[in-house]
Symmetry: D2
Subunit: 344 residues, 4 copies
Amino acid sequence: MKAVRLHRYQERPVVQEISDPRATGPLDVVVRVGGAGLCRTDLHIVQGQWADKSNVALPYTLGHENAGWIHEVGAAVDHLRPGDAVILHPLATCGFCRACRAGDDVHCEASAFPGIDTDGGMADFIKTSARSVVRLAPGIQPADVAALADAGLTAYHAVKKAVPMLYPGSTCVVIGAGGLGHLGIQCLRAMSATRIIVLDPNEEALALTRGWGADETVKVNAGHVDRVLEMTDGKGAEVVLDFVGEKGAERDAWAMTRRAGSDFVIGYGGTVDIPTIDVISTERNVVGNLVGSYNDLVELMALNASGRVTMLTRTYPLAAVDDAVNDLEAGRLRGRGILIPDGA
Amino acid sequence: MKAVRLHRYQERPVVQEISDPRATGPLDVVVRVGGAGLCRTDLHIVQGQWADKSNVALPYTLGHENAGWIHEVGAAVDHLRPGDAVILHPLATCGFCRACRAGDDVHCEASAFPGIDTDGGMADFIKTSARSVVRLAPGIQPADVAALADAGLTAYHAVKKAVPMLYPGSTCVVIGAGGLGHLGIQCLRAMSATRIIVLDPNEEALALTRGWGADETVKVNAGHVDRVLEMTDGKGAEVVLDFVGEKGAERDAWAMTRRAGSDFVIGYGGTVDIPTIDVISTERNVVGNLVGSYNDLVELMALNASGRVTMLTRTYPLAAVDDAVNDLEAGRLRGRGILIPDGA
Amino acid sequence: MKAVRLHRYQERPVVQEISDPRATGPLDVVVRVGGAGLCRTDLHIVQGQWADKSNVALPYTLGHENAGWIHEVGAAVDHLRPGDAVILHPLATCGFCRACRAGDDVHCEASAFPGIDTDGGMADFIKTSARSVVRLAPGIQPADVAALADAGLTAYHAVKKAVPMLYPGSTCVVIGAGGLGHLGIQCLRAMSATRIIVLDPNEEALALTRGWGADETVKVNAGHVDRVLEMTDGKGAEVVLDFVGEKGAERDAWAMTRRAGSDFVIGYGGTVDIPTIDVISTERNVVGNLVGSYNDLVELMALNASGRVTMLTRTYPLAAVDDAVNDLEAGRLRGRGILIPDGA
Amino acid sequence: MKAVRLHRYQERPVVQEISDPRATGPLDVVVRVGGAGLCRTDLHIVQGQWADKSNVALPYTLGHENAGWIHEVGAAVDHLRPGDAVILHPLATCGFCRACRAGDDVHCEASAFPGIDTDGGMADFIKTSARSVVRLAPGIQPADVAALADAGLTAYHAVKKAVPMLYPGSTCVVIGAGGLGHLGIQCLRAMSATRIIVLDPNEEALALTRGWGADETVKVNAGHVDRVLEMTDGKGAEVVLDFVGEKGAERDAWAMTRRAGSDFVIGYGGTVDIPTIDVISTERNVVGNLVGSYNDLVELMALNASGRVTMLTRTYPLAAVDDAVNDLEAGRLRGRGILIPDGA
């Protein structure tokens, strides 16, 4: 089959022929790929930023946001049938540890992460576990939803954790109206009646957020934190969803979080740096957020199937991965780039 | 009446005669003091560290951990009677804001803090609000419980928030076996079956914690963090209760918190300083903790009345406040110093 | 002032002149009434069904769904000003008991219920407590929202308790598309992405529910329970909100509740009658629901101010209370009847 | 191997030789039985009361409370080793449905129940799923804990659900100090500081409960409900754990539940019969309880390993199952009867 292979860090991955994966283990599942999302993390991988964390052996196949159709299943799998349209949870988890048993499978003690530490989905086929497969509702096309598998799931998970704090009359500040942020806003609108204030430096992006459910927008510039405080009677928001997490956003997020409120860290790159006296005297929290569980993905797909959460995408043939990377690097890519194998 | 008055920062407070407070407002309550706790915060106040925060006008009366007997009540108070033995919630709250209405009165939008920003309880009498008064169970002496009003309440509140995460088989690390820590350990033991590991540099303090319910102890020295990781299969604890919050404890606390776990900041002085990638890649939380609510204090007093949580105290006559301060500063004070007015 | 007074059970109340209430207590508030809702409970009161429960001394003034403007406040009230537009929480609560302190003021141990056990709001003025007053957002007219004080609050409270169980992909069955049901549906839509199936015998009512957010409707007839089971793969709904509670609805509600789901009893009149083996073998719950808290009412008013929850009303002059009662009894009243004092 | 086989309803099961089970499926696990609990449900099965529910094909092997040692594992199982001491969760679950993925495996959509609908553990060996196996802590003997697998797990699960409502100062009423009740009391004591009031008709049983953590006991006779109301200021308990569920206990349970409290149905046989007006006017709940989840069992075993929850047992050789049944039927069995295969 064709696959996008990374041979050396700092060099562009190449499309080449490799052998098809097979469902050798009893819970293995091989999926014919319908679409694989291209993510900024893929650029970081190529640059070598993940080399020490993933310890993946090169060459390997990129692609951690995948959807397609069941192609072959292992001997112990009888709830899936070839041809079923599916989206893949990004992790292949063990199913036996406490976290897996508690519905918190992201913290599985023995998981693999296809596209990061094993072969991913920028290929004709991908092998994963039967535990990672979510069936799509009738009529949903894999290529249209592939990127929900990671970007969407991360945004949904954070929003789901935040919603219990977001009673009607509360305020939620969303920092970043980009890939994750635009999904987070849609999730917030679908699941709460909170007042949504979105911050972004890009006015065009801000304008779009109204259609996704934002109530108010604030352009990021010198005065944006004061502006938000002013909009909240000097108190800040019950929840700040920081989809940026660097370049000052991580400081702004805390500054815009009100007493007894929570600053949700979702994006990363910067550093949380807060005197403990500020933490305790206002009883604020810093909340970590990481992807989402299998059931979170099922729920997100229900939001998608009902039209409440959709994703802006642009498709490329798998063979044109270079063009997609170029567009992403050059900032020419509106929405998520999705690679489509031949014949999918 | 006699009262411990602070006239100038950096100078010792003095005991002098001032006029008795009166219940002039309809919800006012005047309490005859049975005991007032001396807290390290009182030393900080004298040093002037709180001057900018409290903006209190000097001179004023110290004492923010108070218990005694109802002496006089305002016109709108009919559920309290002179002579009732009571402990005082440290805040006098408005009762009308959302926080007060939600049982989260510590975040009241218009509260006073006797002993910090108005006259406190190191005196024969103290004026507070009817909303701040918790009746004691029969047989409980005010002087024995006064310090539960602040130190105990803070420990209880943090533990209560932590307990839902502390299932049987989990681990809770307690940093600091001192004033708050020893109460926190007792609260943990009363309300959970979690494994309690206590850290402290003082071996004598550690030895005492076994009697309060600690399962294991680790002396704070070069290797204590590694020791705790080793005791938890390299994973750390579901919850770390950091009663110190400075001098490295705030870093250790985070390092000993496991994936998806929570680092409870209770003590203060240091700085939380964590790369956002560490926050998100492990989905850990930093949880702020302030003193507890009115109902928290009622619950803590139930723990005390049933013998589950008790406090080590040493009493001084109110007039001997200087001796108490000397003992506290010199580290000669085992347990909490309690000032007792004449005739109480 | 003019007031609708009930002199004898089984006789129509009469509009007559009585003396104005005064804010004599320190927390008293007198409100100039802008609108008072007429509720089926008022008919039951007149029939004498509440005589034993309320023990109210006749004659007294009806009206337990009230909104208007602050007219006079007691000595201890400084957060409200004459002229403020307000809606009244139906209970006047003590503020001191555990329930009041926990934000669960409906279970106050010493509350009054104007319109039920003391003089209500079908009058030019009503006296209540400062604790019962919710300020309206600018532009909101008291007469438009008065009935949210009880009917709306009950529906909101039940929905708020149900929402944590109603993840995307779940189903919520609403029994009854009438006064409470139509508000419940709007609240559900505003705060969740659950699939809403509404049951009612009236097709016209069902047709309207689509505009409020219902996804599907089922006419109540011989086969409605089977129809709902079929729509839910034979499993039933995660939550059933039973706004009827009698005439078979209470049996249907349980039958349509899936394993591990919850049957919310909101309407009343019938009897819950379930073998304990059915309770345990499916681990289903029966959940009681009663009005809502003060903060619930604040939140509902935020939903109303943002246009998410509105109420269909028909106004009558206070003097025409008889016409309103006639219309309600005859089933001619679409939406809630609101009595408007002269000059309001 | 030897096994206790039921051939015909209404006839005693017999011990006979059958072939050993084999781990043929990839997730199969064969366990050498160390002990199998004899439960009143086994008597009901013999009487035929479960025939229609389980649809099990006769003959089959009884025993649904099992512990032992791993004997053989399927091809896909690499986290268990022959010789590991284990206790078995009573269900063998699918691992793929939403309930399994949410840590709520008892509501699995495709589970088997060895001892009820497939061959159980009153035998030398039992076959179950790798998903059902909980490893025992070092030093714990299978025969000592076998009955925790069902009776203990049910009690633990109910208590765990109740604990969040049982703040210090609250009251929990436990109806029934027998097999489940005595475990429930120990779990309550380990995980809460609530006041525990135990009801039972048997004074000897009541006396024992003090050692398990009960604070007060009430003999069930004509006046027990009034006595409990009196002990709770006329209000009743925040939670009632009804381990009986029949013969009037189900009515008493509701009557002793306070406003906004919850009546936990655990035992069964009777009928919940409550006017909806009583449900709503007091906002009480009826809470269903089934056996616990896999993680619940892990947690219970942690309570057991730390000595907080232990079980009174009496052992019989497997071949003496008839004696055990005789003793159970005759009421001569104090604690749980445990059948021990030869050589275990």
